[in-house]
Amino acid sequence: MNIFWLIMMLSSILVLLITNPSAVLSEMLAASEDALELCIQLCAVYCVWLGIIELIEISGLGEKLAKLLRPLIKKIFKVDDIETQKLIAMNVSANMLGLGNAATPLGIKAMQALDDKSGKANFAMIMLIVVNATSIQLLPTTVIGLRASAGSTNPTDIILPTLIVTFCTTIIGITLVHIINKIIKRKKKA
């Protein structure tokens, strides 16, 4: 990310130095103002959702969801440890609700539990990254919230398309990891 940001900044400032030097600072300040405005909107969105999430957790519904997902997780991740299964289940369900920020701490914990200290990523770790990246979205909460505050007449009409697309990407991701894992294993045997 560091190199990426540096290239973005340096290349555009160099171009602007020749074409429009006075725009550099004013554009930076304007963008920062935009960021502040966006954050105020996001704060409102998070306020609603974090409140709801707290209710889901305290009522025990979160635990129930995790239990429901456990058999599936056992099959996909090939993990037997129950505590690890629960961590993965909670990480996956937070992702399904479009709450990336809530999913991250759970994902880190799950990764630590999966780490075999060999320095190499194992099958379950790779699977967790891929499942996170392609996660099925039941409720893209943040996107819906932002769309509603941008004046959409029907901000929830993206739920179904998102569900269909993420269902496909998750299947593609999981299948690919399984296939590649099998190929690698076969090569090792040969």
Binding site: N20, C43, L55, M111, I126, N132, D157, I158, V165, G173
Partner: protein, 168 residues
Amino acid sequence: MSVYILPIIFVLLFIYCIYKRVNTYDYFVKGAKGAIKLVIDIFPFIASILIAVALLRVSGITDFLVNLLAPIFRFFGIPPELCELVLLRPFTGSGSYGILENIFVTYGADSYISRCACVILGCSETIFYVATVYISQTKVKRLLYAIPVALFASFIGTILACLICKIM
């Protein structure tokens, strides 16, 4: 149809809370409190990426890149207006919300472009960020084939998103 999904979920949740004797008001407030801290944490990230994106745009580099890649994107049925979002998405989550906001303002929140952008955001992830953060507390140095697979699946997702938003 989908208008009813959220209200129904909320009603069910509240009824379940009554059943479980949860003080809904107390806990809603408790959860909502976290929003301010979360936003304070992510503000610097959003600001720095939006600054970089704004400079890229004024300098004309964005246009240059979009023009360069537009034929490839068009070949896969992805509108060129979404190039910026697709390119930056793997690197920054909060930054892509900034770009989404720009798209809403430019094309209207209910336009085809905006709806595509929403679905694309839903089906992709800040892969490089997630990968770095997730393994940060382990001994693992490389993730082998995890990132290529994730990127490939997301790209297929992007193509599908543009297709499905046309019919739905």
